[in-house]
Symmetry: C2
Subunit: 356 residues, 2 copies
């Protein structure tokens, strides 16, 4: 079968011919429909993060935002024809409590692989196998948005963590600020603007009009904030401070600056992973006071688990499909891999189709 | 009656003769037994924070860690003779939802006074009045530790916030690290070491042995960490990283450094309020990554509400009294005000007695 593999020693991504996997005992065989490409994929290919092949191999099959169809349920509760999307993390030894609990998203680094990211092959292949515990069924009606479940699940996890962190008092959030207009940032803007939690949202970018990301932001009813004119740390000088910040930029200073964009009792979740160490002059006195005096919270969030996938599916069912369609700027066949991985100002979400 | 007042224009604290208060409709009259003195009191007196007298007055009666006896229940559910401790914040207009909800600890700055700290007279007087909603009954058996309820309630609020922030997964904390060996830090060390939440604790100081704070830390079974030898940011180089950090130093860099002392999924609460703005070189890349990749949380916590007072009372009932006694290094009469406010390496907790 065909698969898309990254060869770290050659810094190359290419289509390979590999053996169709046979499900082990209790594993489900899935035929891949589509796989989304995100910033992590591009950073792997650029040699910046992950990309570690499985033990003894020279390549890693990419892809962690997948949707497929069960072709061999292999005794599981799934049926042939079920549309499913797979979780990303796997525990190589199935021995940590995080694996047993279904909370691999909270497992400490070094105790798991991330399929398609590091240590274990991903889903950019015509078929893949998976423990059924790591598959989530999705309704046929949203099968063509199934590759959005994984990124949307991160937003659901962040919201869950944010609300949990504010659950010991009567929090009444009204506004949210998404930092970043990459594909996760735009998806978050659509999620937060169309969801029930917030009455208004903002989204940060650094682009001139006309621009397709600004079109999405304003199309959904959110407010575009140009970080070149209004940096995050100065946001509250011009707008009311917000109750929630969802960071996706990976710009290191945003973890600190987000706190200054928050209203009293606000919470910021940071999800972006900076490339490297980067030192800034920080007024730690102001940062520390700001946190304490107004009961603010700053949370790091990575990966997601089954219930977050399920929440994402629930949202995608109700989400306005034309808005989702606007996010997907390119579907590519297996003969267009280079084009699929390319990035440009007009690229929002690229998708690789295996169902050609 | 006698009261201890701070005169900001004269930078002076002295005993004054003032009128015994008459409870307004529905207010309770309380006869003061003892009032604790903490870092905030000393910072007010030094002119560093708060100290604002009520409208039109030239002085502020100090004191926010009080215990007293109800002498006029005035139609409330209290009885004469009940031992009570009062909350600190009051809403001047009783109009915000935070006041209605009993969550003034979450109210935004500018919408409340803090009795004995800013805008409204405190409890260092032979008598005070209070809305009964802001009084918490305490058992007679711990009346002589009643001035510890207010600071202990801050620890309870921080624990509640920390556990809430970790409630969306199966968190299993084992260790806690208290930053600071002032009177709040020592009380927290005793609370966290003798409570059920953590199996082991550490407490940070910068003192040479022999030292009474190290005696308390080690006496309760905690481990003393000398910040001159092992700064917070390097803590995890020598010890296992901790699940919880409780910061009391107000040293601005500790809000950032605490994150590096945390184990994956750990949470730090910061309570110290830095004196002023203070800029450091911060590796924001490392800080941001550390938060995200290991799902860490950083929470600011200020003040506390009724249920935190009640939780503090519950803990004080079971707390080993000899340990609490060790924390109280001086009880002073009204003729010894200067001595009561003095600080020294041997001063842990000073208490002003009105029951002489």
């Amino acid at each position: 079968m065909d698969a898309v593999a990254y060869f770290p020693d050659e810094s190359d991504v290419r289509l390979i011919e590999t053996e169709k996997p046979s499900p082990a005992d209790g594993e489900v065989l899935v035929r891949t429909l589509e796989v989304g490409i995100d910033g992590s994929d591009r950073r792997i290919v650029a040699g910046d993060i992950g990309g570690q092949p499985p033990n003894g191999e020279n390549h890693l099959v990419l892809g962690h935002e997948a949707v497929g169809v069960v072709c061999d349920p292999n005794g599981s509760a799934f049926e042939a024809g079920d549309v499913v999307t797979p979780l990303v993390r796997r525990s190589p030894d199935h021995e940590t409590r995080f694996d047993t609990n279904g909370e691999l998203d909270m497992a400490p680094p070094g105790t798991f692989h991330e399929r398609g990211i590091t240590g274990m092959h991903g889903y950019m292949a015509e078929y893949f196998t998976s423990d059924p515990a790591h598959l989530v069924r999705i309704p046929d009606a949203i099968a063509s948005y199934g590759f959005l479940v994984e990124p949307a699940s991160l937003i659901e996890k962040s919201l869950e963590q944010a609300f949990a962190a504010r659950s010991a008092f009567d929090w009444r959030p009204e506004s949210a600020f998404v930092l970043g207009n990459g594909n996760l940032g735009l998806l978050a803007t659509v999620r937060l603007e169309t969801g029930e939690e917030f009455a208004r949202t903002y989204c940060l970018g650094r682009r001139d009009r006309p621009d397709p990301t600004i079109d999405v932001i304003e199309g959904v009813g959110s407010t575009y904030v140009d970080s070149r004119e209004l940096p995050v740390a100065a946001f509250a000088d011009e707008h009311d401070p917000v109750d929630y910040v969802f960071e996706t930029t990976g710009y290191p200073k945003h973890a600190v600056d987000a706190v200054f964009a928050l209203a009293p009792n606000g919470v910021a979740t940071v999800q972006g992973i900076p490339d490297e160490s980067m030192t800034f002059d920080v007024d730690c006195g102001a940062f520390h006071s700001e946190l304490v005096v107004t009961n603010k919270a700053l949370l790091g969030v990575v990966n997601s688990r089954k219930r977050h996938f399920e929440a994402a599916v629930e949202w995608l069912e109700t989400a306005p499909k034309p808005l989702l369609d606007e996010l997907v700027t390119g579907r590519y066949g297996l003969d267009e891999i280079d084009a699929a991985f390319e990035d440009s100002p007009d690229t929002l979400k690229s998708v690789l189709s295996f169902d050609g």
